[in-house]
């Protein structure tokens, strides 16, 4: 728990408020600047930083007495030259990235006032780096240097500030806290006008930043494990490690801490280290060094040792080493309190460990990683890609440096193409918000401008549709060695299967598989699949009504892809293109499906749907995928001439419902509309005649076509609430689908035409148009009405009149279903209807209470139909 320090004195508070006001004003002014403005400033600042790299390094060296002057010069140069090189061409003002193909644009917004903590270990380079980032992103910064590095850090701020202002930056864009306290820091961290804290430094500072409740970039300490794998280029590895660990006397938190060396190369590695001016400690020396560097009580590193030379550390510890010793190497046996040198040592002291196997090496690296280095940096030297990959998977580090020095490698831009930085994000494991090398994008709020993308639409139907009398003759053009005709006993008996057989190519062996003409059950499906396998079918002809064609679709699916799990494939989805479950694409028995419909309603011959009856659970399972669509559809009226009167009415109403629902669907398009509208016209014109005069060939033929045309519409636009209600009601009370649709239809038209209680997201539609669509249909049918409302009423009345002509029941009650049993079923009916995916494309999103009302309306029924006879008008 971080304690909340007390507030500063009033006088001090006034001073801090002054800084904030200055920074806030600068940030506001800065928000008006252009990319060109800031780019000019950044270049000038980079040059100023480069020019002052040595004086600033000297100042830092003298003030902190930490590190190596020459290395500090390099750090200052990296912080300016390399950072400038990375950011110079990157847009940071206004639109910074565009993704036209996705309709997305990213716009940069400055953060405002940033409160920034600067560490003692990199007191000038971190300032140079952060100043460049802040100007590039149009932010103001209040710097809080480490108290023991205040002079050099504030001098770096002054140089960058004056250069920036000279080149047009707003006054007050950088300020530096004068000699300050933890109270000052806490006050600024909590201040409402500070937008973000960028805390580079010790764990305390980072924790305080995160505890402030402000957005913070906190980057803290590390404990870098190095795996020296047996395939490594040893000469390179040893030099790289020495370069890195001695760089600025080991003050970069990404520098190597423990090198885990494979047994096979351990001795030769230590020999190389010794040859290059390092001192390899014996067991006793290692123990002495551990005690000298770490406080026995707290386990913390002695501050006086941070960034000191190896010889000085040895002298203080009482070890005798050669005067030119640049690095102390201490073999350790494990990780933990009893092995003090296994943690971070911000000085030229390096632990080494001999690993007997790769597994042991990885375990040891992971132990070091977890001993204070989570999320920070890790290094591997290896020429084995598998080893590198394994190491990357195992170790939790934001930066995994391969075959390069850890400290300079992690800084980025020198040994690799990582983003140059002086702040290493350590991810959540390190208590940080990012694993990135902190860079300009962390100093920006990115706004995503997302344009409405045109919905991808489609119109998919079978490749070939043959219609009119004797269209069945077209089966002869499809080559087949083995054709299986799937049909029902009745059709087989009246000779329909023989008609088909007559037209099949002579070379095809033809088999007839007769299954019961009910909604297909899994058992019947599997029997059919067995037959397909037995005859090695390359062509399946489904001859029957919707149920038979549905059965054949599922048989084909299971025949071609036996692994298809029907239960899984029936999983619900919101958008067919984004569904979780994908239908199988690999086919072991590719075959052609020809659908010959013998009813004029479901249109299954052109749709991607198939309904399976789950007898065990007493429910219907709907499968939907365009891969289920038959390859060929044959709409031959000779097969419907003998349709019974009741079936003619039921299937005809189903066809009308398909067309009406597709017309107002949220997935409706001009492609589906033309089919839906035409089908509606044909139904009003021909259905009464087909019903009343079954022998009238034209009426039968046109209704057969209408069913297919309506199905093409709903195959692509979907259906709606009417179907959801009819599915639930029909299954519960055993009422034929078309009849169940008829009971709901007039109520649904009125319901869909009124303003929805709840609008549903539908990217395909630009406006709510269901009422207008109904009015258009009324116009097409020549119905009365001047306003949209009047036309909707006329349409509903015309539908009622048509239903009366077809002698459809006017209510659920009229079916003889007692009110009591209906009311008992009602809660379930609502649940089942709401779960039915059919309504997903309905123009009104149905509330459950509305579904209940619709069921009740259907129970009570409609009144006597009035209005113009649409059939007469359409005729």
């Amino acid at each position: 728990m971080v304690k909340n320090p007390a507030n500063p004195t009033e006088e001090r508070m006034a001073y801090l408020e002054g800084l904030i006001t200055q920074a806030k004003t600068a940030a506001a002014v800065f928000s008006q600047f252009t990319q060109q403005d800031v780019d000019g400033m950044v270049k000038a600042m980079a040059l100023a930083g480069l020019e002052q790299a040595q004086p600033l390094a000297r100042l830092a060296s003298e003030e902190t007495r930490i590190g190596v002057l020459e290395d500090k010069v390099i750090k200052n140069m990296v912080a300016t030259e390399f950072v400038y090189n990375y950011i110079k061409d990157k847009p940071t003002v206004g639109t910074i990235r565009e993704f036209p193909e996705r309709g997305l644009v990213e716009v940069a917004e400055p953060i405002g006032v940033i409160f920034s903590l600067i560490p003692i270990t990199n007191p000038t380079s971190t300032v140079l780096f952060k100043c460049l980032m802040a100007i590039k992103t149009r932010n103001a910064v209040i710097f809080s240097p480490h108290p023991n590095a205040w002079r050099c850090s504030s001098e770096a701020v002054r140089i960058m500030y004056e250069t920036a202002v000279r080149h047009g930056a707003p006054e007050g864009v950088f300020t530096c806290l004068e000699a300050h306290t933890l109270e000052d820091n806490a006050y600024l961290m909590r201040h409402k006008d500070v937008a973000m804290i960028d805390a580079t430094g010790g764990q305390g500072a980072v924790r305080a930043a995160y505890s402030s409740g402000k957005p913070a970039l906190g980057v803290g300490p590390g404990n870098t494990p190095v795996y020296l794998e047996k395939s490594a280029d040893l000469s390179m590895a040893v030099v790289d490690i020495i370069v890195s660990k001695t760089f600025d006397n080991g003050t970069i938190c990404a520098s190597e801490q423990t090198v885990v060396i494979d047994d096979e190369i351990y001795d030769s590695t230590l020999k190389k280290f010794a040859e290059l001016g390092t001192h390899v400690c014996n067991e006793k020396e290692t123990e002495i060094l551990g005690h000298a560097l770490f406080d026995r009580q707290t386990g913390c590193m002695q501050a006086a040792a941070v960034g000191q030379k190896a010889t000085d550390i040895a002298r203080v510890a009482g070890l005798t080493v050669k005067p030119a010793t640049k690095l102390l190497i201490a073999p350790i046996q494990g990780v933990g309190r009893e092995h003090p040198l296994s943690v971070e040592k911000l000085c030229p002291v390096l632990s080494v460990y001999r690993a007997q196997s790769t597994d042991e090496a990885l375990r040891m690296c992971l132990d070091v990683n977890h001993a204070g280095g989570l999320g920070h940096t890790a290094v591997i030297f290896s020429r084995n890609d598998d080893a590198i990959q394994k190491f990357s998977q195992v170790i939790n580090a934001g930066r995994i440096i391969v075959n390069a020095p850890g400290s300079i490698g992690a800084l980025g831009g020198v040994y690799n193409d990582m983003v140059p930085t002086f702040s290493f994000g350590c991810g959540t494991a390190g208590g940080n918000s990012t694993t990135d090398n902190v860079n300009i994008y962390h100093y920006l709020n990115l706004k995503r401008v997302a344009r409405r993308t045109p919905a991808a639409m489609w119109f998919r139907v079978p490749n070939q549709i043959y219609f009119n009398f004797n269209a069945v003759a077209n089966v002869r053009q499809f080559p087949s060695r083995s054709t299986v005709i799937i049909t029902n006993p009745g059709l087989e008996q009246i000779g329909h299967a023989d008609i088909v057989r007559r037209y099949l190519p002579l070379e095809a062996s033809v088999h007839v598989c007769v299954i019961p003409d009910a909604e297909p059950e899994l058992k019947a499906i599997l029997q059919g699949v067995e037959a397909l396998n037995l005859y090695k079918a390359d062509q399946i002809i489904a001859l029957g009504g919707g149920s038979m064609i549905d059965a054949a679709k599922i048989m084909k699916l299971k025949y071609e892809s036996p692994e298809a799990d029907l239960e899984e494939l029936a999983a619900p989805f919101l958008d067919i293109r984004k569904r979780v479950v994908q239908y199988p694409t690999g086919k072991i028995n590719p075959s052609r499906l020809i659908a010959i419909s013998t009813t004029s309603g479901t249109g299954s011959e052109v749709t991607p749907f198939a309904v399976l009856f789950d007898k065990e659970r007493g429910r219907k399972v709907t499968l939907a995928d365009y891969s289920l669509t038959p390859d060929v559809a044959i709409i031959d009226p000779q097969f419907v001439m003998s349709m019974p009167k009741g079936l003619t009415a039921d299937t005809g109403v189903d066809c009308l419902t398909h067309a009406l629902e597709a017309a107002v669907s949220t997935y409706a398009s001009c492609y589906s509309d033309c089919n839906a509208m035409q089908a509606i016209r044909m139904v009003f014109k021909y259905l009464p005649a087909a019903y009343q005069h079954p022998d009238e060939e034209e009426a039968r033929s046109m209704m057969h076509n209408a069913a297919c045309i309506a199905a093409m519409a709903f195959a692509n636009a979907g259906v709606g609430v009417n179907h959801a209600l009819a599915h639930a009601f029909g299954a519960r009370f055993g009422v034929a689908h078309g009849r169940a649709n008829a009971l709901m239809l007039p109520h649904i038209i009125r319901y869909n035409a009124s303003v929805p209680t709840k609008f549903r997201p539908s990217p395909n539609q630009r406006a709510y148009v269901a009422d207008k669509k109904y009015a258009t249909i009324a116009d097409l049918l020549g119905l009365d009405g001047g306003t949209i409302e009047e036309k909707v009423k006329s349409l509903a009345a015309a539908v009622e009149q048509l239903l009366d002509q077809l002698e459809m029941p006017r209510s659920i009650a009229a079916l003889g279903i007692a009110k009591e049993s209906f009311e008992q079923a009602l809660p379930d009916l609502v649940k089942v209807a709401f779960d039915d995916p059919s309504w997903l494309s309905n123009p009104r999103m149905p509330l459950m209470s509305e579904l209940e009302e619709l069921f009740c309306s259907a129970y009570n029924g409609r009144g006597t139909a009035r209005g113009t006879s649409a059939g007469q008008q359409a005729a």
């Binding site: 200055q22 002014v29 928000s31 405002g112 007050g172």
Partner: protein
């Protein structure tokens, strides 16, 4: 009784100076002072300070300040400084 509305054209090159002049005229401004910002593309820290000072004095003297022709970028700067609520805006 007719009210006198004092109008000031603020020069884009000298925003702070213009606002200081406006501040000096607050006594004779009547109930409302209109500051024409249509020539101002960008405002600097001195300009913002002058604007803040002007709003404080206008509050004391109960003079309503109207910014005419201020660009949306200018309006955003005033929002960032939490000054926008202290003005009325007109085109």
């Amino acid at each position: 009784m007719a009210t006198i509305v004092v109008q000031f054209q603020i020069d884009g090159e000298g925003v702070a100076r213009g606002l200081e002049e406006a501040r000096d005229k607050l006594d004779s401004a009547g109930p409302k002072m209109v500051l024409d910002f249509s020539a101002v593309d960008r405002i600097d820290a001195a300009g913002l300070r002058a604007l803040e000072d002007l709003t404080a004095r206008a509050d004391d003297k109960r003079v309503k300040l109207v910014l005419r022709g201020a660009s949306i970028d200018m309006y955003k700067v005033l929002k960032l400084m939490k000054l926008a609520a202290r003005f009325s805006f007109s085109n």
